[in-house]
């Protein structure tokens, strides 16, 4: 089945008969909601935005204690963040006549560039221009390379894309697992981050071999995995996509590293950090915008995190919160210059397996997401919360999930693991998951073309109900504002106070003369304002 585009003259979606008028209304409400937040975003910067900017201008490396150069720079300039830190780095490049590599070394060895007197503004600006042009060249080449490979191997591409996770903690072990997964049929490899990395206010440096529940996201680890996937992809004649987690206190920096090392997707949600890691909301909103501009500029597909809501709130009762959040995430993403084909909205198969007809409800909602977001590379997540140590039942649940995914034409399918409740996947767990998915994908390939749904049946009615509830919720959020809505616990049943959470001290109001050549470059490239 091809993705069905909404035809202009139709009043309702093709299969479920959802009214376009309502969908449009939801979009308008969402734009109203994000417009208010965007006003705040535009007036602020954060420590990690400044560090991401520095990284994209060449700052890299770490001192002997492992403190990354971008952190060393920004930590010494807390009083100057409002004006933009990058001009001091550019100034140091101009004044010293050194390459970024040489300058980074000196900074790691103690050079304090905040103490160097600012030189001629025009020289700083022309240095900025030079560095931005070099960056643009590097990023454009990455995009070109990726698109070329995708085209070259397009005849071997199947949908849904099979997405699996590696998480050994050791990047070299991850490589083995990732290559094996690709050979078994995986299209996308996500290297999940180590427990608690999202709360680190810096990105560790270099290759790493110690992590638990995941592997550190570092630029070197990105590079190592990228190379491994390119190698195995060329062997298999398929382009294997690499994913990491652009979230937490260093969201924009991870985006910067991913852009430079040609990652293909990023988990990147506008609210996940607030709700699930207790990161301050002002910090998160400001960071997500900058990181999404970076992702958009290199055609990185983002994956949003609505699936998580259904672990802390009930999947049947709160289905509409997922749709509501998808509309909001979409609107934020568009403000950051993302087109639909980069906005991988998330949702999940997370209902209690004991529910009568639960499968029909899941089917309905997955199809609803497909019809409301026809151009988006939807990311569909497997059962997790109700997975238990009963791996046999878990395998059966995953089969049901595979059925819904294929039948409703989802784009990105994160495969369920039979051992979800036990450990991060073993090599064989991933293999069994891929076998299951391949079997179902093939066995029901043309299912949806063969059936139609009763107009007043469970499936059609459910989708309408969820959309209606979502519009109602959007109206309420629109009325009270997103900040208050989160404070009240309207998403994921999690309440977060506005001034609470981590990282608030890293948010700064921009001064009138705020200078950030990377921001200018991104906005220009993405035609933002």
């Amino acid at each position: 089945m091809k993705t069905r585009k909404a035809k202009k003259n139709l009043k309702k979606t093709e299969i479920l008969g959802l009214e376009f008028k309502k969908i449009e209304k939801a979009r308008k409400l969402s734009d109203g909601i994000t417009a208010n937040v965007q006003k705040y975003i535009n007036l602020h910067t954060t420590t990690t935005i400044e560090r991401a900017t520095l990284r994209l201008l060449g700052a890299d490396g770490a001192d002997k204690n492992g403190v990354p150069v971008p952190n060393i720079i920004v930590d010494k300039m807390k009083d100057k963040i409002s004006e933009g830190v990058s001009k001091y780095y550019l100034n140091a490049l101009v004044k010293s006549g050194k390459t970024p590599g040489e300058l980074n070394n000196e900074i790691a060895n103690g050079l304090d560039i905040s103490k160097m007197e600012l030189g001629d503004e025009s020289k700083i600006k022309s240095k900025a221009k030079e560095m931005v042009e070099a960056l643009d060249k590097r990023l454009s080449e990455n995009v070109k390379f990726r698109n070329q490979k995708i085209k070259e191997y397009s005849s071997n591409e199947k949908k849904p894309w099979i997405y699996v996770i590696v998480a050994t903690g050791n990047i070299y072990e991850d490589v083995k697992q990732a290559q094996a997964a690709a050979m078994e049929g995986a299209d996308i490899i996500a290297v999940i981050r180590t427990t608690a990395q999202s709360l680190l206010d810096y990105v560790p440096y270099g290759a790493t071999t110690e992590g638990f529940g995941g592997t550190y996201a570092t630029q070197e680890n990105f590079r190592i995995m990228r190379k491994a996937l390119d190698e195995v992809g060329d062997k298999l004649k398929r382009y294997i996509r690499l994913v990491n987690y652009c979230s937490g206190l260093c969201m924009p920096e991870i985006a910067a590293m991913g852009a430079m090392e040609r990652l293909d997707m990023m988990l990147n949600d506008s609210m996940y950090g607030i709700l699930f890691r207790d990161i301050n909301m002002y910090r998160t909103f400001t960071d997500q915008f900058f990181s999404r501009m970076i992702n958009a500029s290199v055609e990185i597909i983002i994956n949003t995190g609505e699936d998580n809501y259904l672990t802390t709130s009930d999947a049947v009762e709160k289905a509409h919160t997922v749709l509501t959040s998808q509309f909001i995430n979409e609107s934020f993403a568009k403000r950051a210059g993302m087109k639909e084909d980069l906005i991988g909205l998330g949702h999940a198969f997370e209902m209690n397996p004991d529910i009568k007809n639960g499968f029909l409800l899941e089917f309905s909602q997955a199809l609803m997401a497909r019809e409301i977001f026809p151009l988006h590379p939807l990311k569909y997540m497997p059962p997790t919360k109700f997975m238990t140590g009963d791996i046999f039942k878990g395998y059966a649940m995953n089969t049901m999930f595979n059925f819904v995914t294929k039948a409703t034409n989802q784009t990105i399918q994160l495969l369920g693991m039979l051992t979800e409740a036990i450990h991060t996947p073993y090599l064989q767990d991933r293999f069994l998951a891929i076998e299951n998915a391949k079997y179902v994908h093939n066995n029901i390939a043309d299912f949806l073309g063969e059936v139609s749904f009763k107009k007043d049946g469970i499936i059609v009615k459910r989708a309408k109900q969820v959309l209606d509830e979502s519009v109602k919720m959007l109206e309420e959020v629109n009325k009270i504002g997103l900040f208050d809505a989160i404070e009240k616990g309207m998403f994921a049943d999690v309440k977060r106070p506005k001034d609470g959470g981590k990282g608030f001290e890293g948010v700064f109001e921009k001064s009138e003369d705020y200078f950030n050549p990377i921001e200018d470059y991104l906005k220009n490239k993405l035609k933002i304002r």
Binding site: G169, E184, T195, R277, D278, T424, Q428
Partner: protein, 244 residues
């Protein structure tokens, strides 16, 4: 003596199923290797019923085996944290009658752990699977501090609100991170000489009572626990302490 061994379809046939991966290339030799390995483990008869290639250097096996080894069921020692849970109402009546004041409980998922669903299931009003949480118990004052709470902060809060019991949830267990964190907790509370002031309870999918006792806690609860299980333990323990 009650000697038992695994049951397939006939008593004492000793049948078991096993699946595993070896870091060897797929092929006849791999299969033979897998079979010999199972025999080396002591299984009497090993059938490799399925094998698959995971990559150039890894192979996966499904096997059925038979064993001669048996165990004396009567010799197994097992002490659950509680024998039988009281209902919410029974717990309340017990507190009113025997403890005669409200019981104060504080809980959190500690250390790096960001998982709240488990501790919420035990503590929050709504509870889990139609079993109300401790907040709902009229005679219990429950304070849920959420996740990612440092051990120090939990202890400090327990002191401040004069808690009777401290509940800790540990969901992330990879590389034994929970053992380290729980050990650290006990060390901290012993250093403050407060170990005996509180009833200490830990829970999570990889936790059991035996492990909890070994680590120095009063009780441990695993998957499928409800608030009434924990409440029963707490009030009985408090009463026991009081009588002493």
């Amino acid at each position: 003596m009650n000697l038992v061994k695994p049951y397939g379809d006939t008593l004492n046939d000793g049948a078991m199923q096993i699946s595993f991966t070896l870091p060897v290339p797929f092929g006849g030799k791999a299969k033979e290797c897998a079979k010999l390995y199972l025999e080396k483990l002591g299984f009497k008869k090993a059938d490799i019923v399925h094998m698959a290639e995971l990559s150039e250097s890894f192979s996966f096996f499904v096997a059925y085996v038979k064993t001669d080894v048996s165990i004396d069921y009567d010799s197994v020692e097992f002490t659950p944290a509680i024998d039988k849970a009281m209902s919410m109402d029974e717990v309340n009546a017990f507190i009113k009658e025997k403890i005669k004041r409200k019981v104060v409980v504080v809980g959190a998922a500690t250390g790096f752990d960001a998982h709240t669903v488990g501790i919420d299931a035990i503590m929050n009003m709504k509870g889990y699977n139609h079993h109300f949480g401790l907040e709902r118990y009229p005679m219990i004052e429950a304070m849920n501090m959420g996740a990612q709470v440092p051990n120090e902060k939990l202890i400090e809060t327990a002191k401040k609100i004069n808690a009777d019991a401290i509940l800790i949830s540990q969901i992330v267990t990879q590389k034994d991170s929970h053992i380290k964190n729980l050990t650290n907790f006990i060390e901290l509370i012993e250093a403050e000489k407060l170990r005996d002031k509180f009833v200490l309870i830990v829970g999570g999918p990889r936790i059991n009572n035996k492990l909890a006792l070994e680590l120095g806690f009063d009780a441990g609860f695993g998957p499928g626990t409800y608030a009434e299980d924990v409440a029963t333990f707490i009030v009985k323990k408090l009463y026991e302490k009081k009588v002493k």
